[in-house]
Symmetry: none
Subunit: 211 residues, 4 copies
């Protein structure tokens, strides 16, 4: 049960605690001062361990960030799709689905906006992050396609893969810009427009109950 970002695999309780303290310290410092602005010594210091210990648990500053972000993305992902699937089962309308997606996305992005900022920058800057985000995007598209497939008759679009991608793109850029830069105009108007655009595009009748 080892992985890429871990050097020493902690077995004992005390070790696990140290590793967690390092992760927490790093999250706090990366959020405050950015990734480049934080160094291993500081992280170790804040976690109450030595630099050596830092390097015993993580090959790298980057390895630590990669772990933080991939965990974060996995958490968000799971939470969002769980709720969406429930809603499909409950017979919500297409527009309601889009609104829920927006609310969930909004919440998850506002959890740690500074980390989001870092991740968004890194994906343009570092190959490993580019790859990680690409994988995540593929997964997300596949899940959206899965959800859409279950909606049969009411679907307006036919090329589900392409539809999933453009809808995801519209969601993401809007969520990100709101979370990171703040909304240009009132959030509600923006989100309502986003729900409208995606619902009208995806569904024949956006206000009819799905399935």
């Amino acid at each position: 049960m080892s992985n890429d970002t871990t050097v020493r695999v902690p077995q004992q309780a005390r070790s696990i605690e140290k590793r967690n303290r390092l992760v927490d310290a790093a999250m706090a410092l990366f959020g405050e001062k950015g990734f480049q602005g934080t160094n291993a010594k500081e992280i170790a210091g804040k976690a109450g361990v030595s630099v050596g210990t830092f390097y015993a648990y993580f090959t790298d500053k980057k390895a630590l960030l990669l772990e933080i972000l991939s965990r974060h993305m996995a958490d968000v992902d799971a939470a969002v799709f769980e709720e969406l699937r429930a809603m499909v089962r409950d017979g919500a309308t297409g527009r309601e689905m889009m609104r829920l997606t927006i609310r969930l996305g909004h919440d998850s992005h506002h959890h740690a906006p500074e980390l989001l900022r870092i991740m968004l920058a890194m994906r343009y800057t570092d190959e490993d992050f580019t790859r990680m985000v690409a994988v995540e995007n593929r997964d997300m598209t596949a899940k959206i396609v899965g959800l859409l497939s279950a909606m049969g008759d009411n679907l307006r679009v036919t090329d589900l893969d392409a539809a999933a991608r453009v809808v995801a793109n519209a969601f993401e850029e809007t969520m990100h810009s709101v979370a990171v830069f703040g909304p240009d105009i009132e959030q509600d108007r923006l989100y309502e427009a986003l729900a409208d655009m995606t619902a009208v595009y995806l569904f024949k009748d956006p206000d009819a109950p799905l399935k």
Copy 2:
């Protein structure tokens, strides 16, 4: 007539030429090796001037990048809206407009994808870039609103500001991800879906001639 990025305002022809040589050298090097990966000495060397001269023309490495990117954005912007306005006058359909927008956006983004990459990263990393992009976004939204306003009857959306923003977001994220990461699925399918989504959303009849 001084501005933020300039220290010395070149009056003589020889000065202007030096400044341009510095800008060209920087564009080439930033594209090749990234922003962090390029240093002032290299830029000066490639431009055939001394480091001292570099700092005579630009306060900073960042100032130079800021200038490069704002120029680039202004160029793209002008070109895109020029063509779009012409098309509105020529009585194209909504869908055709969206397709043209996509083609223009695609071309402009593929001109210097490495610089785009840098800009996209910097906007999440550096306050000055955040601001520059915010201003640009506001301008772009205003221009889109202007275009839409001219379409009167055929417009489906009512909150033009919000509509302009979400449509711009959908465009941008899609363009960027294609330009920087390459398309996940075939480009044509993706672009067609994007045109469909935005056209169906903005217009009552996406296939009727506007105006």
Copy 3:
């Protein structure tokens, strides 16, 4: 019965085996990656014991090297003089003696040239090695003097101590440079010249049987 290089003196068989495993692992790794390039953790790892155990048996990485090299030197020494004494008894000529010495020296140096390299460097770098080599040299000189003394009439030289030293020096530098750097010119010519120089110097008639 303790000595400098040992912390714990192993009494049980299992302990002795561990100690030997550590020595073997170290010899292999020092040869491959040099002394500075090898660390205690690696040695312990290759020997299948923990770092703690390493430090239970050796005060130091250096202590281990010192032991390896002094063992090695002792082995070589014994083998060489054993054979030489046999030859004196068998009535060989002076030149034949020199040739045999060269062959024996050559073989012993080519056994572990990388360790030789390390030792040659350390003797100029580290006081303990300087001392160790000095002691070894004195021993060797004494033994050569012993051999020469037994040759009575045929000896050309009178200051046996000085003669032993310069002959040993000529042998050593030649052996070392061949073993470590490879011969500049053909080995046989070099070795024949060396045998000639030392035989002509030491003996009245280099080709008469000694004794």
Copy 4:
């Protein structure tokens, strides 16, 4: 007029002075504390310049050492062979030549014994030094062969290349061990033995005037 060890080629007097100060500081510190024991910051400090300046003039600590040692070797070399050639012209005996060689070698090695120590260690440790010494050895052998060739009739040896090598080896090891470790026995006896061995080997009549 650039070379391997120099980054910035000093043209101005002040630059040249700085470079020299760095070389002097390094020689002093390497001698005192060894090569590994000295760092760039110290050298710069002792020379009264900044670390940055150090790296402007030398790519490396090693580059600096390489320069110091190759200069040193060139100086010694020139001085020794100059005098030897003069002596051949003056009709000295073979034995006198060997004695002079020893005196010259002794003096040059005692000039900076700590640097000698470092060089002797590095040649077993670092490829670049191995190479440098190999080149030097080839040169020296060639020069000795040149000298010997001029002695025609009185020469006892026929394979001049091999003879030059083994004689050089005997000289070197003896010089080095005296310079670095101090003589085991009285220096004069050792040197006399060395002169005797080499003279008797090289010449038919070691005490006849050459040429």
